[in-house]
Point group: C2
Chain length 407, copies 2
């Protein structure tokens, strides 16, 4: 199995994909804020939505849509600057209007366009501006616009997140998986939103695609934490159009499926890690691995609890080899642990064994943490369960960004 | 029912209680760090311990002790500066030695002394210093030392937390309930620890006392959050010695029980709020009330999720009337909510109704938040469930305190 990331890859890198962007002036000045990502053929599609009970209007639209169009989706329209959340019946109408306008402008059947919004919540959508932008953008579709698309979906992100990988299938052909994401940036005046769209020219049946996306998300987008808050708009979409001409992947036991999910996971992980690297106020990228748990689920629960602990995250900011806070977080995580069996390392240096601190050089341990990429490894000594998650530290900049007084 | 807080009340205010403190030099210079709190008669006792699976040695000692001495406890010994956590078999021996030394110095039977420790974790206990301190302190027991006791248990707390209330019982007598707590201050190099001891001269049977403590803790110490981390040492102890001469309270349906639990709750809530007010880096004291939930438990879950959200807490620091973050937190809290029915107010000013933002004056709303005591009120519009919790905001000082580089 071979996965090769393309230089300068993006969501329109796979065959049969085009992108377009334009500036509607929804909120930002001097930049594009509306994106179309379009396949020349019908796609299999699958999506994962926020578990927050407060769901933005486009998510409610998409959740219904994906049920009836999982074999026929053609495009996604995305606006930045307004999340279309807490906008009532007008918001529902705006999401529907965006879909219909895109279908109309591109000459597509109804129910083939997925809608995403990110930005301020509780503000009425400037529908006319957005519909005008859709009409304008629809004239400029091109594969070369993939990088611009990744930039146009940004809110307080400091850089676009995009990539594409080429995967050689065991059955002979080659496919490309591309993607773009916007991350946990705080949207004045409201909340973080994670949006990600994955594209491919592979041919995958909708049910297999749905299973693949859930498995890949579990160890990528669902294994990251910036601040533990779950937004109203989080959406992960995958669309595959078969334009590569490779055989249909409709069997989860096939070698081609194994290659596809490996590629999908690699693309999702790369984008998810980029979201963490661009976390608000982050100065360190932290990889937390928990091994020896009684199950993978327990390992992930322990690792995510460490990743979310403000005490751990502030210690990481200070390059403090504070094993006590890590052990403490695992202790209240709900995962099964026996404190007397826990081993812990920072940057590869053992600091705790059998629940007891080892005599380690504090300054050397701090040096291992005072770097942009930090690792924390825990072994619970109970079983074979294992999980890796990614997070960032918690510096003063996080508070500055998120406490900014609204004017 | 009448509850009157005493001026300058403390844990030795109830009849038959004495306190003593001394300086052992465990960690701090120029201050007392060892405390004895002693009843002249055997007490009914009940305790609640951290749910963290990583439990400090004294907690393991006390958990066994309370089972066999719930009707005969006499004293508690408390040291500050070392949490006796992650200290292995030597730590177990140290906790036992502290109990035995106190029993011996005071001429008490074995298994009558409860042990608490707070401070650094993972550092061997300076047992000789502590045992010497116990012997010295035992000579100076006096009711007047209650205020000194509350000061000697502090770690990074900026002020002692203590109070006492007089409760008139319906059956005729009067009792006093006192208490002291130390709070969520970060202990260099490790974690927050909440210790609280409640004393009384009431006569209460051990099983009724246990039930009363759990009910009172649920709406006091278990309804506060500083940063969402649960420590290895959290302990809440109550001891009642009957010295007031009032009738035995052994019936949870009796009027005297109602008066007792009202007083116990009032004392616990006052101390718990003091812990929040002294939260690390806190600039605002925040009271969050959720009404209209389908159950009290759901209301509390929603309220505690708001209280723990870093996005809400940083917005509060910035006096930002950011209803979106509050609604979002309730949405992922796990509590049953219908976003279209939620009403929300900041400082009494409605900002959200039916899940939609109201046109409110942002500057006026910010003014309502830019005060030391802030209220957030949510009504879920679903049922009769209600809960109130207390938290603080999240300012840059929190990170400064917790990221401090260990030298």
């Amino acid at each position: 199995m071979s996965i090769t990331f393309l230089e300068d890859g993006h969501a329109a890198s796979p065959a049969g994909w085009g992108a377009a962007t334009t500036a509607c002036g929804i909120k930002y000045q001097g930049r594009d804020d509306l994106t179309l990502l379009v396949s020349e053929r019908p796609c299999s599609a699958a999506a994962i939505f926020t578990t927050n009970l407060v769901k933005a209007a486009p998510l409610r639209y998409d959740m219904a849509l994906i049920g009836r169009s999982a074999a026929s989706l053609r495009a996604v329209v995305i606006n930045a600057g307004n999340a279309n959340a807490c906008t009532g019946p007008d918001g529902e109408a705006a999401a529907l209007a965006m879909a219909r306008a895109t279908e109309s402008a591109l000459g597509l059947p109804v129910d083939t366009v997925f809608v995403m919004s990110t930005g301020t919540i509780g503000v009425p959508m400037p529908v006319e501006k957005i519909l005008g932008g859709i009409t304008a953008a629809a004239k400029g579709l091109a594969p070369d616009n993939g990088p611009a698309a990744a930039a146009a979906i940004m809110t307080t992100d400091t850089r676009p997140k995009r990539c594409a990988a080429r995967i050689d299938l065991p059955s002979g052909g080659a496919i490309t998986i591309g993607g773009m994401a916007k991350g946990a940036g705080m949207i004045h005046p409201n909340m973080a939103t994670m949006l990600a769209t994955i594209t491919s020219d592979a041919a995958v049946s909708p049910d297999v695609l749905d299973a693949a996306l859930r498995a890949a998300a579990d160890i990528s987008f669902n294994s990251i934490s910036i601040d533990g808050d779950t937004s109203t708009n989080d959406t992960l979409l995958v669309m595959t159009n078969g334009a590569a001409g490779s055989p249909l992947i409709d069997d989860m036991d096939s070698p081609d499926y194994q290659a596809f999910i490996a590629g999908l996971t690699a693309v999702c992980q790369r984008l998810a890690k980029e979201v963490v690297r661009d976390g608000e106020g982050a100065t360190r990228f932290v990889t937390i691995t928990v091994r020896g748990a009684t199950s993978d689920a327990d390992a992930k629960q322990a690792a995510m609890t460490i990743a979310k602990s403000p005490l751990v995250k502030t210690a990481l900011y200070g390059a403090d080899p504070n094993w006590g806070r890590v052990l403490c977080a695992m202790g209240y995580s709900g995962a099964e642990i026996d404190p007397d069996k826990v081993r812990l390392s920072f940057g590869g240096m053992p600091v705790l064994d059998g629940g007891m601190p080892l005599p380690f050089d504090e300054a050397a341990a701090s040096d291992l943490l005072n770097v942009p990429e930090v690792t924390i490894d825990a072994d619970l000594g109970l079983g074979e369960g294992e999980a890796t998650v990614w997070t960032c530290d918690f510096g003063p900049e996080y508070i500055t960004i998120n406490a900014e007084y609204r004017t």
